[in-house]
Amino acid sequence: MTTGTAPAPTTEPTGPTVAVRHLLAQIGRYTFLCAVLAFFALPLLWLATAPFDDTPTVTASLPRFTLDNFRALLDNPYALSSLLNSVYLAAGTAALVVTFAALAAYALSRVRVPGRDALLYGLLLLSSIVTGTATMVPLFELAFRLNLIDSRLGVILILSGGLLPAAIFILKDFMDSTPTSYEESARVFGASPLQIMRHIVVPLVRPGLATVGVWAVANVWGNFLVPFLLLRGPDKAPAAVIMYTLYTEGGQADLRLLSTFSLLYSLPVALMFVFVSSRYGFRFHGGIKR
């Protein structure tokens, strides 16, 4: 802050230019965000409009509102049953994954098993490289030999095998962060290991079990490849496969059926997402979905 000497002309941007640059940056930023929004919203528009349009086309347009299209669902023999199949596959896999992963994670967390960290990382590595896509040939072969072709149990078992390593990993983390003094305390009072499980451990890790359950359901609900490979008839196929057959097979697709079915099939995961994000905040931890 010297006075007297005239300040030398600087190359620093003076007041107005800074403001202009700032304004331009803001405009650029909002333009970009609007473009992003358009890019991500555009394909979804059709899903929001077509089911309620009385003459749906593949173009997204303002619908002439009707709910008649949902009747098409009832007319199709496989639409509703495929959703039930999806529920069956998702529930079965989630139950299996949660139960088995919880048991294994508990044992790994609480009992010293030699080489347990190596085992865990090995399994995780394995599950990330042995994807359904890379092993579709042997999986098909295996299902054939085990008589699991066209069996929903086969789909459940194969999906569970793929999800288990990551589920064990998530749950072990959860159990490691739970103090052992709860269990020890119950043990001093004379509780048996199974009582400790039932009274103490399961209630304590319930949020972890819920997380893994939701994650498993989300994975199975959208999975196309495994049921597509293993299930033969449309009566057992889940919604993912029926959806695909609706627009690839049988000439002209019935857009009324396709649009309502898409919406109905998408709704559960969207609701689950809203629930999870409102309850726990959908921030980043490891990803709810791979």
Partner: protein, 305 residues
């Protein structure tokens, strides 16, 4: 201290808090391990075996497969279709994962970095929605969007009759996969950007650094680990992505036939299980390399932390 009497601090390692015992603990592990063994380990090992046979879905070689050694592999290397497929997969991974998902994801996260409120929630909501919807649904959404005659895109652009899926199949599935998978990168970078101290950015701004210079000098050095993690994971997932099959089914004329689709067509549609297994094994090896690089990097980050 007396020899062998090293201090054991307060809460000693409790080997078995619930009194489970070795036997019961083993019993707890068995069901999960059996499933993993049968449906993860066995298929991986079997791929190796099947890859050296001439096993087919039907016909003579279905009943009596013969070991043909490395024939499948030499055949694959000489096969124009396989090499093209490998090249297309490379394009797919580079275009949709590395450039598309990671680039767009970072850009969105950066544009939203100090935003709160409805704009951020709406943008994030749509990006996430495209990620969580079932793949067979979003595949049809894109078919509808890109439809030659009545597609929304052509209507908007005013160029009806452009057959995107026929004329530009690779571009279509690359843009599709970018749209589908950007959410993961966006969230990872959003978390990473929150770890960049404000004071560092402000120091750079006071020194007169442009946005680009701030990114290069302040932001990237702080989030290098996140970038690597992100790139490896999305490369692995994109490499194994089967969803493009739902849109183009590899066509037209195998012009969008990435490896997963190629394996499916050769092995399960074409019935050449042995040959398909050999290609699968190549995929497993590539997966393994990506995963090992990733683990190696995680280990190094843990050491330096």
């Amino acid at each position: 201290m007396v020899e062998g009497a090293r201090p054991v601090t307060g809460a000693s390692p409790a080997p078995d808090a619930a009194g489970l015992g070795r036997a019961r603990a083993t019993g707890f592990l068995v069901p999960a391990m059996v499933l993993i063994l049968v449906f993860l380990v066995v298929p991986a090992a079997w791929t190796i075996y099947l890859g050296v046979t001439n096993y087919r879905l039907t016909g003579l070689a279905a009943a009596h497969p013969e070991v043909v050694g490395l024939d499948n592999y030499t055949r694959a290397l000489g096969d124009e279709r396989f090499r093209t497929s490998l090249l297309l997969t490379l394009q797919f991974v580079l275009g949709s994962a590395v450039i598309g998902q990671a680039g767009l994801g970072f850009a969105i996260a950066f544009a939203l970095r100090d935003r709160r409120g409805p704009l951020r929630r709406v943008v994030e909501g749509f990006v996430l929605l495209s990620w969580i919807l079932p793949s067979s649904v979003v595949a049809f959404l894109w078919i509808a969007l890109l439809d030659r005659d009545a597609g929304t895109l052509n209507a908007l652009l005013g160029i009806p009759g452009t057959a995107w899926l026929l004329d530009h199949p690779m571009l279509s599935i690359i843009v599709f996969n970018t749209w589908r998978g950007t959410a993961f990168s966006m969230m990872l970078y959003a978390a990473a950007l929150e770890n960049v101290p404000r004071s560092h950015l402000e120091t750079a701004r006071l020194a007169g650094a442009s946005t680009w210079q701030q990114l290069r000098d302040v932001v990237f050095p702080r989030i290098r680990g996140h970038v690597l993690t992100n790139l490896l994971l999305i490369s692995l997932w994109t490499f194994n992505d089967f969803a493009p099959f739902l849109i183009t089914a590899g066509g037209p004329e195998q012009r969008s036939e990435i490896l997963p689709v190629y394996v499916y067509k050769v092995a399960l549609s074409g019935g050449e299980l042995g040959f398909g297994a050999a290609i699968s094994f190549v995929m497993l090896l590539i997966n393994l390399v990506i995963a090992l690089v990733y683990l190696r990097m995680l280990g190094r980050r843990k050491e330096s932390a």
